[in-house]
Symmetry: C2
Subunit: 190 residues, 2 copies
Amino acid sequence: MEPISDVWELFPHQRAVRAFDQRPVPEEHITRILDAAMRAPSSQNGMPWRFIVVTDQAQKDALSPVYERCFDKVYGANAPDRAAGREPWSKTPVLIVVLAEAPNGRTSMMTGASVYPAVQNLMLAARALGLGSVITTLWRLENDAIRAILEVPEGWEIAAIVPVGYPDHPWGKSRRPPAADYTFRDRWGG
Amino acid sequence: MEPISDVWELFPHQRAVRAFDQRPVPEEHITRILDAAMRAPSSQNGMPWRFIVVTDQAQKDALSPVYERCFDKVYGANAPDRAAGREPWSKTPVLIVVLAEAPNGRTSMMTGASVYPAVQNLMLAARALGLGSVITTLWRLENDAIRAILEVPEGWEIAAIVPVGYPDHPWGKSRRPPAADYTFRDRWGG
């Protein structure tokens, strides 16, 4: 998958990539991706986020079956794409865990306002470098087990886990309805 | 402020712009901005968002004092930048209201995972076109009053209100610490 640096080409080429070839991701790419995330806006520029870059095979092997249990919980034997389009985390080159500051363990939609823009920068930067990624949240069903493996302390919550790697095949543009179908003028229904 | 389409230049040039000149924003720019937002990822590609583009002066004049009340609540007479760097919404060329689907009126951090990436695309696209924007959430202190003016129905929550316009002066790059200061390896503290 070719790198893309023109933003108007980049937006439509962001796809949810869940299967990767085994080429490692260069460390300098990880640095560029995270530096892009740091540029995102946050309330009072507080940057209330941390990143854990997981490449250690033992850690991926520990996380992977927990995530699979989440799929089993939701989908049973019919977990989507298990055979083809989705690979287990044990085979994913890099997992980027994004954490949000959560004083007293409390989060809300507003917590997300100061962390998901950074996640989006991260994923756009990955695609710009020719890497695929996907935002995952299903692991929330086993949040305690995932936290324990990653040794996340109180006061922080995992906001997203983002597998990153070179995709197993190239991806074209996404399809979307026109924004006009989702847009009102001046008031709801306008 | 010049347009920027190279994503590596774009990320560091996204700034929180709160004061605008009075040039109107072309309708085709609004369309491009919202089409970029539509390309963002969301859970199961559900696109659980709507946009309200507010340009009607009467609506802006209704919203503006409510937002000012929020500043008064938090800052009293010392509201930041009231004189210089921040303008009231009544003078803002466009307000883009981003709504998130909230079944039974309930939201969580995970609601944000499927809407703030779209907000970030929106703001990056604006900057790419030479426009400034800022993500605001302080109006939450008067959420009911804002909802009433915008006629937001049950089942939807306002996730962000984003003023958009040509900035009153050019902005350079943001400053950020290196990502390494915010990053662990394999586990918290690693």
